[in-house]
Symmetry: C2
Subunit: 267 residues, 2 copies
């Protein structure tokens, strides 16, 4: 499982405060903790006024790179901010994200075309998030056509079918599970990702919904996820699910991760 | 989800002690707590010397029935003890269990033939637990032939495909998930059950493995489970999974269970 660590995000009040107060130590600690918890990418999202977004991204990315070698996921609703932020990174990371909205994909794909950068791609377009799985697969097909055009291998893409809140759903997660399975069937080497906690908006005891979702999504082929790696129960459940799904013979990785303290009672 | 509450079992040291010391209050409290936590059946297993098993079952069953109307699951490795224990129950419950071992099924099925008793049936025979899913399906077919012979409707059966420990498995839970899905496809009205915690024998942080297993087994059709209903995280995860699988429109049951205090932070 590829873990994209979500905690350095200006939409989180404590991070917003650290950005305003230039609290470098807070950001460094967050980067270090997430890296040590097993993050594969450290997501960096400024969530500030566009006038200062690029400089804030640079400040955050520099701080993260002071304390860890874990690649960075440059995260902005603006494709051009992502394109700028790429320049601050010492090694290839992940662009979070493109979609068929506006010219995002035509800004980002040329920039990463001949690099090792990976890219998250959301299955939405200018009309919003398609309701049916058929429509989302049409958006997917259009994204893959663009990827082919820019010679971006499927293995560099993390397709996010867009996790929507369960509380307004009539058929649970049937649509998203269906889309995930179809994508993996078409491109076994592609990554399927999602922002796990979106599923539980407006519900109590969100942890329960998030946990169940991650297990079922992994079963459908999700192999990349945006979440808080400091959530030890979730990390343990992910290792457990890998073993249950037959991806961890004799539970060796599960046992090793436990011994290294990734989950279970804190030592 | 049908919850068969497992805690009144003489193989648990505190229960064994209560049996030896005739600590009626301990047993009554355990019955009451499990019933209040939402158990559909209270399993009663003496796990004592065969010479005193029937009288111990009677003592336990009487105590349970003093404090709750929740039906009882009479649980013994001996079919004739189960047949005796049925007589102590005020209302129909569940026999736990038969299998193709020895004459178990020919002792129990005639006793419950014209009643509303339900019955758990394990997919094993005198040769033990079959390795392949094909062999388990053969045992299943033989059990269903017996059920037909005694006119026991599939809706009264809880088929337990036998959860084995994950740590010695090479392909995770592929076999059991396969068997569960096949059984449900053949008989949509049958119940598929399992002893959740068997999956995690010999592994650390067993909770993680048990939780992942229950979610994946529910996805494969498991609609009955033997577990500790006082495990609030597991109960919450089960409600969450029902909603995720589309069995709880707009999460109404999930939200109600939360409001009633079945899971989440204790009020």
């Amino acid at each position: 499982m590829i873990i994209i660590a979500e905690k350095i995000n200006g939409s989180i009040p404590s991070v917003a405060k650290a950005i305003v107060e230039k609290d470098a130590e807070f950001i460094r600690n967050l980067a270090k903790a997430q890296s040590e918890a097993g993050a594969d990418f450290i997501d960096v999202c400024a969530s500030v006024d566009t006038a200062i977004e690029v400089e804030t991204m640079k400040w955050l990315i520099d701080l993260v790179q002071e304390v860890t070698d874990t690649p960075i996921a440059v995260d902005s609703p603006s494709a051009s901010v992502c394109a700028e932020a790429i320049k601050f990174c010492k090694k290839p990371g992940l662009v979070n994200s493109v979609s068929l909205e506006g010219d995002k994909i035509d800004i980002i794909f040329p920039v990463i075309a001949n690099t090792k950068w990976e890219c998250a791609a959301l299955l939405c377009d200018d009309t919003g998030i398609p309701k049916s799985s058929e429509k989302r697969m049409e958006v997917f097909a259009a994204i893959m056509a663009k990827a082919k055009e820019y010679n971006i291998d499927p293995s560099r893409l993390h397709i996010d079918p867009l996790v929507e809140m369960l509380c307004t759903s009539e058929n649970g997660i049937k649509t998203i599970v269906d889309v995930m399975a179809k994508i993996k069937a078409q491109y076994p080497e592609i990554h399927v990702t999602g922002a796990a906690s979106n599923i539980s908006y407006n519900l109590p005891a969100r942890k329960m919904i998030n946990q169940g979702f991650v297990v079922l999504a992994m079963n459908a082929g999700m192999d990349s996820v945006i979440l808080d790696p400091l959530n030890r129960d979730m990390i343990g459940l992910i290792y457990a699910t890998e073993a249950l799904l037959g991806n961890d013979e004799y539970c060796i990785e599960y046992i090793n991760a436990y011994r290294e303290g990734a989950f279970g009672t804190k030592k």
